[in-house]
Symmetry: C2
Subunit: 338 residues, 2 copies
């Protein structure tokens, strides 16, 4: 388990530590013969450069921390994939931690990452996070922090998000252009900004096209689940026969709605059209296939890492960092359900 | 970005490094007053203990590396969640790397992890890995290595897997007990052991119940995709009207099969029953819902971490490690499609 150090190799070969280091890095000012000797020996003893010793020298850990609300979630998995891909290009590795959507765990995970001396933190804040002291601590320690997807308006740092309001506006606009007039909304809970923004986009679209907004056509899915979508659609069928379209905050409730409409033999989209949000794999597998909004998760992840990297380079040079607020574009995916 | 050290705090407060360290760890032999003074100062200067300095002292990084073939894959996401959960209990953090199912990337990721001095590596090998030198290097460096789900029979280390052959046997047995006699198999590619094992379980069940095995009833899904399941089911409908059940290597091809049967108005399960494997979320959302085999991903991840932890503790004490081969049990989930 114990790794040899550069010094051990230098002693064994009776050369200087600097020469060993340069030989392993292929510096031109070390002879080919010495390089070969050092490399052969390093291979023989299974030498791998010690990342921790390197950190003490450079103050760079080449590690970033990512805190996401949930791991087995299609969108976040994609963001993570994008982060990992971009990190790899800069020879970074990614420590992944989950907050399970809780404030307490998020706080703990951030402390652990700071203790590990990561070079930066990428964070999508938990729905239940209500104060930002733990986030301010990152900024105070001058560790670059990038919010992705879910952010706190109170914190002074860069962020990359979906313009949820605009995306929801476009989704509802699409339903209206299909001739739908009485559009219900299966909204998300009241805390994360993106569920508020999607609701606001829904309202704005109705307003913009002079359609009625009715409180009783809005249903709150606290779990953003398939089951809630199913149950509310049953309620819609029973109590609101005037509804001709459903716009859901995410694909899961939309899939529940489709299941319910299918079971009641209600024609989709002719009688009731259904629009989701997120473009999960499932949206293309249900019958009828679900129209939805595509969130470019991989792209968001890649950009989030690049934002960190840019800021980190500036901070290393003691240059001023101007924070960025990036919005990535979404697109409407039109399938059979509208 | 530069963290203060214990020594900086000791100098500032004019006490010993040991006292600072003990105070921060709440040791009983430091007075409450001193503890308070140290903690207040540590807080004021934003002190976080330096993980790298700690490593050089203890040779423990409190980091493990996980290399998975694909990140946005429901089963692996669950395994990862289990690993992260168990790691957290032992105050470990997890570096996650993907091999994208390629041998080259897997090799690179393992080298990066060894260079980072992780305390252990959890690996699910890529389908295309054809030689195990990079894996032997882990073992030679006395870094505990645990295989999960996909493993190499050639490597001498612990592993935790699903008994795929038995699971597939049980799945096909279930179809037979529903009265099905001509059972097709949408199998996986020829390289990963689990797709071979599922195929062998299928054959064994047919043999055990005295049913016909026909080569032309076996179709290879190289991508294990929805599209392949759809296409092969079209072929089955056209060329093999005798088929009364389909057992798929995974849920995705099974979902493709259901889609195809629905479009051809073939009654599921009466005319053709469909059985998947993996219990992805999708299996409960298609119409009819899909019977499948549940793979306990979270449990597998938790156990994999615990196996690493046990071996690591033994190795630290220079005690002999006896490798474990653990098989986790699967269960048949019966839904509408059978």
């Amino acid at each position: 388990m114990k790794n040899l150090t550069l010094k051990d190799i230098a002693t064994a070969l009776n050369i200087s530590v600097t020469t060993v280091s340069k030989a392993l890095k292929n510096y031109p000012d070390v002879s080919a013969k010495t390089k070969e000797r050092v490399k052969a020996y390093a291979k023989k003893v299974n030498f791998t450069p010690n990342a921790h010793a390197a950190f003490l020298r450079t103050q760079e850990s080449k590690l970033i921390g990512v805190v996401i609300p949930r791991l087995n979630h299609f969108f976040f998995s994609n963001v993570l994939r994008g982060i990992m891909k971009a990190a790899e290009e800069k020879d970074y590795m990614v420590i992944v931690l989950s907050s399970d959507e809780t404030y307490e765990l998020e706080k703990k995970q951030i402390n652990r990452l700071l203790q590990q001396n990561v070079d930066g933190i990428l964070l999508s804040i938990a729905d239940s996070t209500h104060d930002t002291k733990h986030i301010d601590a990152i900024i105070e320690q001058k560790v670059p922090l990038i919010f992705f997807d879910k952010y706190s308006k109170l914190s002074n740092c860069s962020s990359i998000v979906i313009n949820d309001q605009k995306a929801a506006f476009n989704a509802v606009e699409h339903l209206i252009k299909q001739g739908k007039k009485n559009i219900a909304h299966l909204r998300g809970p009241f805390l994360p900004q993106n569920s508020i923004d999607r609701f606001l986009g829904y309202r704005k679209a109705l307003e913009h096209y002079g359609l009625a907004y009715k409180k009783e056509w809005v249903f709150t899915c606290n779990q953003i689940s398939n089951e809630e979508g199913y149950a509310y659609t049953q309620e819609i069928i029973k109590k609101h026969p005037e509804i001709d379209a459903i716009f859901a905050v995410a694909d899961m409730p939309a899939v529940g709605a489709i299941k319910c409409l299918n079971e009641h033999n209600i024609a989709i989209p002719d009688q009731i059209a259904v629009m989701g949000f997120s473009n999960w794999r499932i949206s293309n597998l249900v019958t009828p296939t679900l129209s939805t909004v595509n969130q470019p998760g991989i792209e968001m992840g890649e950009k989030a890492f690049q934002m960190f990297y840019r800021e980190y380079q500036l901070m290393k040079k003691n240059e001023t960092v101007i924070f960025e607020k990036i919005e990535v574009d979404t697109e409407i995916i039109i399938r059979q359900s509208t």
